[in-house]
């Protein structure tokens, strides 16, 4: 008979650690199925109030404002995507190993990028609301940073895997660093760049929809006011319209991306 394998200590240790973390989290968050079971009927009632009914119909007169706010949401997401991804282009000249002028510049660029990417978008938006005032501007700026972070990261990762042949050829012909990037690298990654921008746009629409919850413009602002004023019929309509817009833009953008690459 074969020797039994050694007892899997590492696996059990990991499982035990996970269990301990979960127990700690359970206590810390006051998780309770009893409370949940008790609260669910109330939540169901709340949800029921959000659905259109005879007493609380989804009035057509709500639509113009909702439409305007949705448009604002899409505008924030779109503008942030274009500006943020445009800003990422000059950045990759520094933040990409193969294009950076020096090792320290690359490390500095990457460090900045990693730091930027750790700040959650809505935390940034909250702080910017305080600095720039209520409205779409702080939301826009927060999403520009976010888009910049994600597109710059994806783009420089892609550039590092790109065929170096053309770059060498330009260098051999006496091209500068900028010329190498413009003529040898960017043409190769152009479709990826467009795809990353679209991807960022998809995420931005989702985030822009909730920016208003912290006062940074868009449809979320309407939602927050309606929730505070218990305007149930409107809440339902707003949530539903967010849902539709996100799904439609997602589907469109996914389709567009699939055609790009």
């Amino acid at each position: 008979m074969p020797a039994k394998p050694p007892f899997p200590w590492r696996g059990w240790l990991a499982a035990f650690a996970v269990a301990a973390i979960l127990a700690w989290s359970w206590r810390g968050t006051g998780f309770s199925l009893a409370v949940l079971a008790q609260g669910l009927p109330e939540m169901g009632e709340y949800l029921a109030r959000l659905t259109p009914s005879a007493e609380r119909p989804w009035h057509a007169r709500y639509l113009p404002e909702i439409q305007a706010r949705l448009l604002e949401t899409v505008r924030i997401a779109f503008a942030a995507s274009v500006i943020g991804s445009a800003l990422s282009l000059p950045f990759v000249l520094v933040g990409t190993r193969t294009l950076a002028p020096a090792r320290w510049a690359y490390n500095l660029g990457r460090g900045f990028l990693n730091l930027l990417r750790t700040i959650p978008d809505l935390v940034l938006a909250t702080v910017l609301v305080a600095a720039l005032g209520l409205g779409p501007l702080p939301g826009l700026v927060a999403l520009v940073f976010f888009t910049f972070g994600i597109v710059a990261k994806l783009l420089s990762d892609t550039i590092e895997t790109v065929d170096p042949g053309p770059m060498e050829a330009i260098a051999a012909a006496g091209g500068t660093r900028l010329q190498r990037a413009l003529f040898a690298v960017f043409p190769q990654v152009a479709p990826d760049y467009a795809a990353y921008t679209l991807y960022a746009f998809e995420i931005n629409v989702r985030v822009a929809a909730v920016l208003g919850l912290v006062g940074a413009g868009g449809i979320g602002q309407t939602l927050m006011t309606d929730i505070q004023l218990f305007r149930y019929g409107r809440i339902g309509l707003v949530v539903f319209s967010i849902f539709v817009v996100v799904l439609v833009i997602d589907a469109f953008s996914t389709w567009l991306r699939s055609r790009l690459v």
């Binding site: 008979m1 074969p2 020797a3 039994k4 394998p5």
Partner: protein, 279 residues
């Protein structure tokens, strides 16, 4: 050498036809009976319906017409639970071994017991001691018990196929199905696997149906040969009388070198086997 005709057939095809949804007819009105303990090799070109034929026995393929009787029970009409019980008594071996790659060899072999155990036990992975011992004994019989606790994907192709045989054995089946079991193996290993199959079939008195493309192997190991062409049985008889002409008639063309696996001298096979064991 065909088994005693007196005993009732273990597997019987009655006018079985299989037409796939795309219109392709894989079996045409096939009627065959297989008595207990017979080692049958089914030959034919690829696409002749060999694979469909043996898959009708455990109903991985459901015939469109006709009946398939296993121990007198029509498997074509069984419900899910009854079908699983019937499948428990039918072991099957595949061309690509079809092991769960990331599981250990022993786990793979124990899978042969799933249909015999209550679901709660199997979901928790609590196999009775007797089943673990049975699985280890099955591995012993195919000569790779020392690999029991290794991951399946660390084994060579020939070893994996022997694990698959052990899995089938652990079902304690009455019937063994093998779908091109040696097509992915080199000649010495292929012969080793066929010898294993034949030996186990004898020891356990298993009714064994093996699909093979190679005519030399069919002649060497079969008690009886069934030839299929375009879904029809075009030959059925004891292996002794079969010649190259018979195969040319079955295949409908001349025999080519790639229809032969090539004979591996017993010593060479044994040496290769020994080397595999030593590894």
């Amino acid at each position: 050498m065909a088994a005693a005709p007196a005993s009732p057939p273990v597997v019987a095809f009655e006018n079985v036809t299989k037409q796939f949804p795309n219109g392709h007819v894989a079996l045409r009105n096939v009627s065959l009976t297989f008595p207990r303990g017979e080692f049958v090799v089914v030959v034919g070109l690829s696409g002749a319906g060999k694979s469909t034929l043996i898959r009708c026995v455990n109903r991985l393929v459901t015939p469109t017409a006709g009946r398939v009787l296993v121990d007198g029970v029509d498997v074509t009409s069984l419900g899910d639970a009854a079908l699983r019980r019937a499948r428990a008594g039918i072991g099957m071996i595949f061309q690509n071994y079809n092991l769960v790659r990331r599981s250990s060899v022993l786990r793979n072999v124990l899978a042969g017991r799933l249909a015999y155990l209550p679901t709660w036990r199997t979901l928790l992975g609590l196999f009775p001691r007797a089943d673990v011992e049975l699985a280890l004994r099955s591995l012993e019989r195919v000569g790779i018990v020392e690999k029991a606790y290794q991951r399946a994907d660390t084994l060579s192709g020939g070893q994996q196929q022997r694990v698959a045989i052990a899995r089938a054995l652990t079902q304690r089946p009455a019937i063994l199905l093998a779908d091109e079991p040696v097509a992915s193996l080199d000649p010495p290993t292929a012969h080793q696997v066929m010898r294993d199959l034949k030996r186990l079939s004898r020891e356990e008195n298993l009714t064994t149906l093996v699909n093979l493309h190679f005519i030399d192997m069919a002649q060497e190991y079969a008690d009886r040969i069934v030839g299929l062409r375009a879904g029809e049985v075009v030959f059925d008889g004891p292996a002794e009388g079969v010649t190259e002409q018979t195969f040319e008639a079955i295949y409908g063309r001349r025999i080519r070198p790639d229809d032969l696996r090539g004979a591996a001298a017993d010593e060479a096979a044994a040496a290769a086997d020994g080397a595999a064991l030593a590894r």
